[in-house]
Amino acid sequence: MQGIQIDLISSEKLAALTSMEKIHLILDHVRKGSIIILEKGLSPDEQSTLIEMTMREILPDGFNGIEIETYPSRDQSPGFLQKLLGRSAIESRLTVIGPANQLRMIKKEKDIISAWVSTR
């Protein structure tokens, strides 16, 4: 039976990983053809590193990159400590990542992401 593996990763699991561990986890799964769903998305710095590392993994006739979609982030009102440190709080939200040659985003709205997945 042919199929696609989908890995749903909880926010608790993500919180226990370093940024590089998260990125390696994502790329290891996606290169094998899995679709990853993160309960909480990546920080902007992690997204930047993910793009950079994805580019370094691309091979002719092999892995050709990722498709990634996330809900628009929501600004949270900063707490006392965040105000004190001058940090704004941006809530990262559910994120879908898959191989670019298998995952196509059809439609994204405020709270709905529609995707189409093909077998290799």
Binding site: P44, Q47, S48, I51, I58, P60, N101
Partner: protein, 213 residues
């Protein structure tokens, strides 16, 4: 070269020498084929008389970040900035050499181009984290601004607290909708231009002086 351009250059050089302002490195970022190199060339040509890079309809023509130094821009009120412009490869999360075959390249050339493009995008991301003080984020006004790569890039730029101007290019085309870009990124200044025709380019220079000065 017209008299206006010559006068602008002389005034800019004079002001730069007089005030010795600290230079900012301004990166031109955006998805492939938004017109980044066309803009870099226009800015460089208008203020230094030289080009930055080659322009082509094939995506990823720019595959290395290219810096043009000491561009001095003067606004209408006499305010002046001196910047380095960094033209960067189009940012994307996927590159397939097969896409280049459609433009008549053989497989070997397409594979080399794809490899150079991947290195270029990685380098552009590195520049953004390490070496850029401000960003002009370039969008094709005929395309959907809500593409994930744009959302991610604007988020990354905001998280680094870099000043950003969003440039809505290609307003000479009938399908262009700068308003759609304004509604996608209401938190940032959006300047609609046509790089090809030079339409509104003076507005962009005013905004650059105001925003990056």
């Amino acid at each position: 070269m017209n008299i206006l351009v010559q006068t602008k250059r002389r005034l800019s050089k004079f002001l730069m020498a007089f005030f010795k302002k600290k230079k900012a490195r301004i990166g031109i970022y955006g998805p492939p084929n938004a017109g980044k190199t066309t803009l870099a060339n226009r800015i460089a040509r208008d203020w230094t008389g030289e080009d930055v890079g080659l322009v082509s309809e094939v995506p990823h023509e720019t595959r290395r970040a290219v810096r043009k130094s000491d561009i001095s821009i003067t606004g209408s009120n006499g305010s002046n900035i001196t910047i380095d412009i960094v033209d960067t490869p189009g940012v994307t999360t996927k590159i397939d050499y097969k896409d280049f075959l459609e433009y008549g390249m053989d497989k070997e050339t397409a594979v080399i181009r794809a490899r150079e493009a991947t290195e270029g995008v990685a380098e552009a991301m590195h520049w953004l984290r390490e070496d850029i003080n401000g960003v002009m984020y370039m969008l094709d006004a005929t395309e959907d601004p809500f593409m994930q790569v744009n959302i991610m890039m604007i988020g990354i730029i905001e998280s680094r607290k870099l000043p950003v101007i969003i440039v809505a290019n290609k307003i000479d085309l009938p399908d262009a909708s700068p308003q759609r870009i304004r509604s996608a990124f209401p938190q940032h200044p959006v300047v609609p231009i046509s790089c090809l025709e030079g339409k509104n380019i003076e507005d962009l220079y005013e905004k650059m002086v105001e925003h990056f000065g």
